[in-house]
C-alpha cells in the first residue's frame, strides 16, 4: 500500500466500491494500451507486423528486435545500437538535474526566507520563462553557445537544460519552502548559522519530498528532449533521443517497427524506472508543497 495513504473519512457502499474498481481498471487499461501495442510489436518478427493486426499477440515470439535496438541497429554509419548513447544521455541528464535542482532549491530559499523588495517580480519573471517555446530559442541559443565556446559539447547542452529548467525547479522549491516556518531560519541566525549553513543544515534535510518531485520532473523532461540534443550535441555525443530518432525516422529506408518499439521502450526505461521507484514519494512530495499553491 501507498505510504501516502491516510485514513479517509469517507465511507462507500459495496456497489459503489465495485463501480469504483471497474472505473479504475478501465482507466488502467486505457493507460496501458499504447504500451501494450509497443510491447507486443517489439517481440514480433517484422513480417508479422507488416502483414497483420498490430493488436494481435505474436505468433512467433522473438527478442531479436530488442537485441538489435540495443547493440546492432544502425544509428549512423556504424551499427552500434542505442547502447553508446545511453551514457551520453546520462552524462547530460545527471549534471543538468543536479545543478538545476540545487539552483532551484537555493532560489526557493532566497525567495521565501531572504525576501527583499521586488523578489516577487523576479520570481514572476522566472516562472514566465517556463512558457517560452523552445523552437524560438534555438538559433539565438546556438549563437550564445558559439560565443561561449560551448557549441557541440555536453557542457553546452547541460547549460541549456539548466537554463530552461530553472523556472520549474524554482517554482517547486519556492512553494515548498514558503510553507516552512521562517522562525526556524531566524532561530538559526541567532544561533550563528550563516546563509549557507542554514541552507545546508536546516533546509536541505527537510527538502526530501520536493526534491523527488523536482528531480522526476526535470529528469523526464531532459531525458526526453530531442530538439536541443540534436542541435547542440549531435554526433558521437548525441543523447539517447537523438539516436532513437535516427533509428526511427529514417525517411527512405526500410522501417523495422519491431526494432523501433524495442528501442523506444529501452530509451524510456530510465524514466519509467524513476517513476516506478520514486512514484510513491512523488505523491508525497507533491502533497508536501507544490500543490499547496
Amino acid at each position: 500500500m501507498s505510504a501516502a495513504t491516510q485514513e479517509t473519512a469517507i465511507r462507500t457502499g459495496r456497489i459503489a466500491r465495485t463501480f469504483i474498481y471497474v472505473v479504475l481498471l478501465v482507466f488502467a487499461l486505457f493507460y496501458l494500451l499504447p504500451f501494450f501495442v509497443m510491447l507486443v510489436n517489439s517481440v514480433k518478427p517484422l513480417s508479422e507486423i507488416t502483414e497483420g493486426n498490430m493488436m494481435a499477440l505474436p505468433k512467433e515470439l522473438t527478442f531479436a528486435p530488442w537485441a538489435s535496438a540495443w547493440s546492432t541497429a544502425q544509428i549512423g554509419v556504424e551499427p552500434t545500437g542505442l547502447r553508446p548513447y545511453f551514457l551520453n544521455s546520462l552524462f547530460m541528464v545527471v549534471p543538468a538535474v543536479l545543478i538545476c535542482t540545487a539552483l532551484g532549491a537555493l532560489n526557493g530559499y532566497v525567495l521565501t526566507k531572504w525576501r527583499f523588495r521586488g523578489d516577487t517580480l523576479l520570481f514572476g519573471l522566472m516562472l514566465f520563462s517556463c512558457f517560452i517555446p523552445f523552437q524560438i530559442v534555438l538559433i539565438p541559443m546556438a549563437r550564445m553557445l558559439g560565443i561561449m565556446g560551448l557549441a557541440g559539447s555536453t557542457a553546452g547542452l547541460v547549460l541549456v537544460h539548466v537554463v530552461y529548467g530553472i523556472g520549474f525547479s524554482t517554482l517547486y522549491f519556492r512553494n515548498y519552502y514558503s510553507a516552512f516556518p521562517t522562525e526556524l531560519v531566524r532561530a538559526a541566525m541567532i544561533d550563528g548559522a550563516g546563509f549557507f549553513q542554514i541552507f545546508w543544515r536546516i533546509m536541505v534535510p527537510v527538502s526530501g519530498p520536493i526534491t523527488v518531485v523536482c528531480v522526476i520532473w526535470l529528469f523526464t523532461n531532459i531525458w526526453n528532449d530531442f530538439l536541443f540534443g540534436a542541435s547542440f550535441a549531435s554526433g558521437s555525443k548525441a543523447p539517447m533521443t537523438v539516436a532513437l530518432n535516427n533509428l526511427v525516422q529514417s525517411s527512405t529506408g526500410v522501417k523495422e517497427y519491431n526494432v523501433h518499439f524495442a528501442g523506444a521502450i529501452l530509451a524510456a526505461l530510465p524514466t519509467l524506472l524513476v517513476y516506478i521507484v520514486a512514484g510513491r514519494y512523488f505523491v508525497r512530495g507533491l502533497m508536501a508543497g507544490s500543490v499547496k499553491g
Binding site: 522562525e183 526556524l184 532561530a187 541566525m189
Partner: protein, 370 residues
C-alpha cells in the same frame, strides 16, 4: 546607561512608520515584558533587539555597545520563539548545541553545557529524541534550553507560552519565573497576555499603535495607568470606565452619574484637584475589586463610600463572585467575596473604594494626575 538600551528607536516600512521613538532602558537582571494587542509593534521591537529586523533610526545597545547592523549571532543574545522553532531534522541535543557549534565552541564544552542545562530543565532523558516526538511542554523546555545553553547577555522571548494549553501555561509561567530568580538573567519578553506580564515582569512596557504607552513596574501600571488604553488593557476583568460629570457638593468634588434605574448618583471623589474640573466631564476609572460588598471592602482605605444599585447578572468564579450592574448607562463589574449573597435583579448595597479610583481627561484620554 542601562544594560540594554533602546534609545529613540523607530521603524518604518517604506513611508509608514510602525514604531515611534521608543526609549527603554533595561538594567541587568531585569525582566522586561513588552505587552500589547497584536499589531502594536512589540514583536517588531523584539526582532530589532535580536537583529532580525533593521533599525530605521535610533540605537539599540547591549552592555554599552551599539549593535545596530550587527549580525544577530554577534549580539550575544538568545531567543525563544512562539513556535519554538526547533530544527525538525536534529535531535534535542543537537538542537540545543547547534548555536554553540556555530560559534566554534569545542565539543567537550558543548557537551558539558548541554548536560548542565538539560539537568536544570529536567530534560536529560529527551536528548536523543527528535522534536516531532515531544509534547508541547517538552518542546517549550527544549526551546528554553537552547537559549540557556548559550549563556547570553540577554534572553528574548517571543510569546513563548501562547501555544500551550491553559494549565501548562500557568506551570511554565511559574517555571520561567523561578529560572529568572535563580539565574538573574536579563530578559525581554513579548506577550499579549496581561496576566503573564503582571506575574513575570519586574517592569512592563505597554505598547499600542507603535508607541510605548507606559513603562513601569507592574504595580504602577496597574494602579496608575497613564491613559485610557493602559487602564482598559491591563487587568481582568478590565477597569470600569464611567463617563461622569464633576460637580462641587459641600465643597468637595463629586462625580455625578446615574444608577441602573436612572436615578442620580453622587460619588465623592478622592482627588481634590478635580475641583478644577467642576462642571466638566471626566472619565472615572474604577477597578472591579474597588467595588465590593461592604464586608469585603479594604479597611485600610480612607475613602469607602456606599452605593446601592440593581444587579443584572452574577458570575460565581469560585474564589470571587462578579456582579454586573449598570452604572452611568453602561455595564460595570463589581468583584465580591465568593460567599456574598446576591442574585440577579436584586438591589444591593456596594462599597466603593474611591481611593483607588482614577480620573481621565476625555479629550486627551490621559490620566488626570492628582
Amino acid at each position: 546607561m542601562g544594560f540594554l538600551d533602546i534609545s529613540n528607536v523607530t521603524k518604518s516600512y517604506g513611508n509608514t512608520e510602525v514604531l515611534h521613538h521608543v526609549d527603554i532602558s533595561v538594567e541587568e537582571g531585569e525582566f522586561l515584558v513588552l505587552v500589547g494587542p497584536s499589531g502594536c509593534g512589540k514583536s517588531t521591537l523584539l526582532n530589532m533587539i535580536a537583529g532580525l529586523e533593521s533599525i530605521t533610526s535610533g540605537d539599540v545597545s547591549i552592555k554599552g555597545r551599539v549593535v545596530n547592523g550587527v549580525h544577530p549571532s554577534k549580539r550575544n543574545i538568545a531567543m525563544v520563539f512562539q513556535s519554538y522553532a526547533l530544527y525538525p531534522n536534529m535531535t534535542v541535543g543537537q538542537n540545543m548545541t547547534f548555536g554553540l557549534e556555530m560559534h566554534g565552541v569545542p565539543k567537550p564544552e558543548r557537551d558539558k553545557a548541554l548536560a548542565d542545562v538539560a539537568a536544570l530543565l529536567q530534560i536529560t532523558p529527551l536528548l536523543d529524541r527528535k522534536p516531532g516526538q515531544l509534547s508541547g511542554g517538552q518542546r517549550q523546555r527544549v526551546a528554553m534550553g537552547r537559549a540557556l545553553v548559550r549563556n547570553p547577555d540577554v534572553f528574548l522571548f517571543d510569546e513563548p507560552l501562547s501555544n500551550l494549553d491553559a494549565k501548562l501555561r500557568v506551570d511554565m509561567r511559574t517555571e520561567i519565573k523561578k529560572l529568572h530568580e535563580k539565574l538573574k538573567t536579563t530578559i525581554v519578553y513579548v506577550t499579549h497576555d496581561q496576566i503573564e506580564a503582571m506575574t513575570l515582569s519586574t517592569r512592563i512596557a505597554v505598547m499600542y499603535n507603535g508607541y510605548v504607552q507606559q513603562l513601569g513596574t507592574p504595580k504602577e501600571i496597574y494602579d496608575t495607568p497613564t491613559n485610557l488604553f493602559v487602564a482598559g488593557f491591563m487587568g481582568s476583568p478590565s477597569m470600569n470606565l464611567l463617563p461622569v460629570e464633576v460637580a462641587m457638593i459641600d465643597g468637595a468634588p463629586h462625580a455625578v452619574t446615574t444608577d441602573a434605574d436612572g436615578a442620580p448618583l453622587h460619588l465623592r471623589l478622592h482627588q481634590q484637584n478635580l475641583s478644577e474640573w467642576a462642571g466638566r466631564k471626566i472619565i472615572l476609572g474604577i477597578r472591579p475589586e474597588a467595588i465590593t460588598d461592604p464586608e469585603g471592602a479594604d479597611r485600610a482605605s480612607s475613602c469607602i463610600i456606599p452605593m446601592t444599585n440593581r444587579v443584572s447578572v452574577t458570575e460565581p468564579a469560585g474564589s470571587d463572585t462578579f456582579a454586573t450592574m449598570t452604572l452611568a448607562g453602561q455595564d460595570s463589574i463589581a468583584r465580591m467575596r465568593a460567599d456574598a449573597s446576591v442574585g440577579p435583579g436584586e438591589m444591593f448595597e456596594f462599597a466603593i473604594n474611591m481611593e483607588k479610583a482614577v480620573a481621565f481627561d476625555p479629550e486627551t484620554e490621559r490620566r488626570i494626575v492628582p
